[in-house]
């Protein structure tokens, strides 16, 4: 199959934002949840700040329950912010909610669809609610899915008949169909088989290179983070404990340990926990990594 450049597959995005504005500005954001009348609120995210420039892939690492997904939901406008501010290309996510919604999309760890419907039926729905031309969107659906190695014969069958990996690729297609300039990827490759994982990672790289999309990527896969991310923020207990380039984080860990270090050492140093201890899917992920390594 001939690889078609992603830039040619994707529909034209919304008009470009003001160049001076960062793609994403998270300014001292906090969020807590009430868990019972007699118990104190639980702080999920505390005083988190981040700044992403256009075209960045910014990784957010942390153990389960560290606040990664809460942070993604806050950026997506799915949770209200207790304090602080989030702006997407200069648009405040609370004041300019509709403008922000047109600029972003999200892929979560679970591919959420109407499972009885086909990928095409689900994606046509997405196209309509985002105001896209349905005829053109259908063409784009075939092209994007083909690029992700989802055969056109699968497009009209119920999603429930597809594997988890295939479903996740359809979820990615749904997000890309709307041509977001800020894409929130919340563990998009967790639980995928090695081939699917590789497909998705390749696609993310190509997307950044050709479409200038800014990406926030949360992952438990350290090799994936090292491969894809320009910068990485490590979160522990809802707080930012480190932020740098992957090389910068590794160099700092090496200096601290007095030996060659890996991103794994960095993660352990800043969170004091092993991913294996608290990530159910880490085993799957590690096996997948080994397989990916064999493929390369």
């Amino acid at each position: 199959m001939t690889a078609v450049p992603i830039a040619d597959l994707l529909p034209k995005g919304p008009p470009g934002p003001e160049p001076a504005s960062p793609a994403l500005l998270i300014d001292r954001v906090s969020k807590s949840f009430n868990v019972g009348r007699s118990r104190a609120p639980v702080a999920a995210v505390t005083d988190v700040s981040m700044r992403l420039e256009r075209g960045d892939i910014h990784g957010v690492l942390g153990a389960n329950g560290s606040g990664k997904s809460t942070l993604i939901r806050l950026i997506a406008g799915l949770l209200t912010i207790d304090s602080g501010r989030v702006a997407v290309f200069g648009h405040d996510i609370e004041r300019d909610e509709m403008a922000v919604k047109r600029l972003i999309n999200r892929v979560s760890v679970d591919a959420a669809f109407f499972k009885k419907l086909s990928p095409m039926e689900n994606l046509v729905f997405a196209a309509r609610v985002y105001g896209l031309n349905v005829k053109a969107a259908k063409r784009d659906v075939y092209a994007i899915l083909e690029r992700l190695h989802v055969g056109s014969d699968r497009v009209d069958r119920p999603i429930e008949q597809m594997s988890r990996g295939m479903q996740q690729k359809v979820a990615i297609a749904r997000a890309l169909l709307t041509s977001p300039i800020l894409l929130l990827l919340d563990e998009p490759t967790t639980g995928l088989d090695p081939r699917s994982k590789l497909d998705v990672q390749d696609f993310i790289e190509e997307l950044q290179a050709t479409h200038d999309t800014t990406i926030v990527l949360t992952t438990h896969d350290l090799a994936e983070a090292e491969r894809l991310c320009d910068r990485i923020t490590i979160i522990d207990g809802g707080r930012v404990v480190a932020e740098d380039t992957p090389d910068g984080l590794i160099a700092a860990a090496a200096a601290r340990l007095g030996r060659a270090a890996t991103l794994w050492d960095v993660f352990m140093a800043y969170t004091g926990r092993s991913l294996d201890d608290d990530v159910d899917e880490a085993d799957v992920s590690a096996q997948a990594d080994e397989e990916v390594a064999k493929w390369r």
Binding site: G77, L78, K101, L117, E121, A126, Y130
Partner: protein, 267 residues
């Protein structure tokens, strides 16, 4: 104008998606329709057993029009519950569309679906009771009450749809209980006069009470709408009050769900 057009297109997205869902689950749709037809027939046959043509017609009206109102109510009230179950609620909430567009799409499909469903039941009952005397029937009155009742039920449906937003685990069950209570207090198969006094008070709050009164008067006695003002104005008031109030309350519930993290997938 462009904005209205975009919002209408977004509303259509919900109608089309619901149609796709209906088409994919056609076997269940047929089974559900067969049950509704059998249920309406069984209830109407009580009138035959009692030897009263008037009772047959009264029960038929109850069965057919309650079916319509409950179908409309279910489609709207389950808007959130179904999306929560499928896990798509967060994606729908992220889409750049207004709340009203989303609800207009749901409501429009609910009405079209309800009309088709009810028409099938009406035809089957007509074939089963070919000698039913509808010579005095005033179809216009029935149509007016059905239309007015639809809008009032939309308001209640939107309010009921809030429950799954507020109560993640039991909201869907609560909407079902609301529907059951409406069936009990609205005089679907009997006069509300036989209800205990406190239930009679509640029956005045249900749009179904006025719809069924009006349709029965129109189809059995041939009464024109103009003589049924006492049933018309409560429906207008309920529609005018409940729809805006439902939209406002839905918005508040959505904000509450975002504040407390209740949009997250469950199930």
């Amino acid at each position: 104008m462009a904005m209205i057009s975009a919002e209408l297109r977004a509303s259509y997205a919900f109608m089309e998606r619901n149609f796709f869902l209906t088409r994919r689950t056609w076997a269940w749709e047929v089974a559900f329709l067969a049950y509704s037809v059998a249920s309406a027939l069984s209830i109407s046959l009580i009138g035959v057993d009692q030897g009263s043509a008037r009772l047959v017609l009264s029960l038929m009206v109850g069965a057919i029009f309650w079916n319509y109102l409950s179908v409309v109510f279910s489609w709207i009230a389950e808007t959130i519950a179904v999306e929560r179950w499928e896990g798509t609620l967060e994606y729908t909430m992220m889409a750049p569309i207004r709340r009203s567009s989303r609800l207009i799409g749901q409501v429009s499909y609910a009405m079209v679906y309800g009309l088709v469903h009810t028409a099938v039941i009406f035809i089957v009952l007509g074939l089963f009771f070919p000698n039913l005397d509808l010579s005095k029937a005033n179809a216009g009155t029935a149509a007016v009450f059905m239309a007015l009742g639809s809008f009032s039920f939309v308001g209640i449906g939107i309010l009921a749809a809030i429950l799954p937003l507020l109560y993640v685990e039991r909201g869907a069950q609560m909407t079902f209980v609301v529907q059951s209570c409406l069936l009990l207090i609205s005089g679907v198969y009997y006069s509300t006069d036989i209800l205990p006094p406190w239930m009679q008070v509640l029956s005045h709050l249900s749009p179904a009470t006025y719809v069924l009164d009006g349709v029965r008067a129109g189809l059995i006695k041939g009464t024109p709408t103009t003589e049924l003002w006492s049933d018309v104005w409560p429906l207008i008031v309920l529609g005018v009050v409940l729809i805006p109030f439902g939209l406002w309350a839905f918005g508040r519930a959505e904000h509450y769900a975002k504040r407390t993290g209740k949009l997250k997938r469950v199930g």
